[in-house]
Amino acid sequence: MKVARSLLGKALVVVEHNNAKVSPATLAAVTAASKLGEVTALVAGKGSKSVVDEISKIQGIAKVLAVDSAEYEHGLPENFAPLVKKVQDENKFTHIVAAHTTFGKGVLPRAAALLDTQSVSDVIGVKDENTFLRSTYAGNALASVKSSQALNILSVRPTSFDKAAQGGSASVAQVAATGESGLTKWLADEVDTSGKPDLTSARVVVSGGRGLKAPENFKLLYSLADKIGNCAVGATRAVVDAGFVSNDLQVGQTGKIVAPELYIAVGLSGAIQHLAGMKDSKVIACINTDPEAPIFSISDYGLEGDLFDAVPKLIAGL
């Protein structure tokens, strides 16, 4: 993908990674940034050379700025924000972009405050260098906004932009570390290492709600997901609150926003806040005993039935 020469902007993408690989969400941020001008990627981490190598080969990236230092190992905003500010002061980008993820949400607004800039969150469309589309009211009101600021800081929704492909060849330059802030100490990350497909990038998502009735019944959905393949399991807030599954499965306004090829909603009624997290899915199917459940009104295919009967049949029939 060529960067259009007519674009005068210079965008900085703050790369999210785990010191080993670039996060898929960042690849969506690169696509968004490419609509704004020449793209530079900032990789700060510890032992993160493979991330630098990977991002430098992504289409659309002209330059990579890299710093490898202990304070950046865990993505702490207290250490990242001053770095972003320094890189901005030295390079005067017109845009700073990251994915609207836990990392992006933590770092970008803090950096925006240091740069006296009103950031724009959860961007779902880029019209031009100053005009963006963002989601408000749980996706029920889409706001088209125009900024008059010399610098714009955007966190973009990963499901709204295609992931940038491989095929680039960027130059890499080292930047100086800005030091440990001493404000916050990382203790632990408790993450799921089972290798199951990632909820935000799986081709198919199967989600369960209160209709599942008990935690052990989620096994049914995991079996269905295994049968379908490249399928992640999600959940409503209600069952996460009840302790059926861990919080990283929550799909919704304040959980994860997903937009898979197929979303199968099982035993969930479709509260406004849940719909916010999945209504952009290409195809939606649901299984629910209540014909009046709101989920039916946004489903392409709705099966009024008992999930304990239907899901095993689905697993057998696929």
Binding site: E78, D116, V120, N140, A141, F296, L314
Partner: protein
């Protein structure tokens, strides 16, 4: 001040020195149960005669401050809300009536006025400079704007640690151990105090105000100020061009059997 455990004047001073001061920021928003509708002029959403309430995540922040006060970790809780005249309702009903000691209303001219997150952070920064809290608690995001930015911006302006999306909080002395909800699961951090803390769903379950407390709330101090008086401009840096409905999905259909569902998904939708 709860006279029961105050004791002598020197015990009072000791109490205040040993306990933390909490500042809680809350916002009046359209209630989460309301089906929000875009205005005919497409410059916003319909707010007139629509049910409003305290932002649910801010209720969690208030609850957390009150619990910390009950545990004698916090001595004084001050609530602040930036909003039009009706924001007084959330300050009284969702803060003062639950155990918050006093409130500050940064009054905007009308209930339809909005303030951008950076301006909100600057207002709270000014208030924090005056009130000198040890912890600033607020919800992780407002369910109307969904920006999820104020706590992080405020922490940046103050140069404080930030503990965002927290589901567990354990304060001890000059630090707090937190557990936060992340995309990948959970993260544990130790943050230095003072800190800006944004609360997530599972941190606690807020209590309901009881009638005696609601009555007492009417007598608690509620100070009204303006953003101007703090030297903060509420002039927006971003202009809203248009607010639109999301794209509507075409109506779907009911299938009668699992077999029919599978067939449709395979041959019609072609997603399996």
């Amino acid at each position: 001040i709860n006279a029961e455990y105050m004791g002598t004047p020197s015990e009072c001073l000791f109490f205040f020195e040993m306990t933390l001061k909490a500042l809680v920021s809350i916002k009046r928003v359209i209630d989460y149960t309301v089906k929000v509708r875009v205005r005919p002029d497409k410059l916003g959403v319909i707010k007139d005669n629509v049910k409003h309430s305290c932002n649910p995540f801010d209720e969690i922040a208030v609850e957390q401050a009150v619990r910390m006060k009950e545990k004698k970790l916090v001595g004084e809780i001050v609530a602040v809300s930036i909003g039009g005249p009706k924001s007084v309702e959330v300050l009284r009903g969702s803060a003062l009536a639950l155990g918050v000691d006093r409130a500050i209303h940064v009054k905007l001219p009308t209930d339809n006025d909005d303030v951008e997150s950076l301006a909100v952070a600057k207002i709270l920064h000014k208030i924090a400079e005056k009130e000198k809290p040890d912890v600033i608690l607020t919800g992780k995001q407002a369910i109307d704007d969904d920006s999820c930015a104020v706590p992080q911006m405020l922490a940046g302006l103050l140069g404080w640690s930030q503990a965002t999306f927290i589901s567990e909080l354990e304060v001890s002395g000059k630090t707090a151990k937190i557990c936060r909800e992340t995309d990948a699961g959970m993260q544990r951090l130790e943050v230095s105090l003072p800190s800006v803390i944004s609360c997530d769903l599972r941190l606690n379950e807020p209590r309901y105000a009881k009638l005696p407390e609601i009555m007492k709330a009417k007598k608690k101090p509620l100070q009204e100020i303006t953003a101007d008086s703090l030297g903060v401009s509420t002039q927006p840096k971003i202009q809203i061009l248009e607010v639109a409905d999301p794209p509507t999905r075409a109506a779907g259909r009911k299938v009668k059997t699992v077999e029919e569902l599978i067939t449709k998904l395979k041959t019609e939708a072609k997603v399996i």
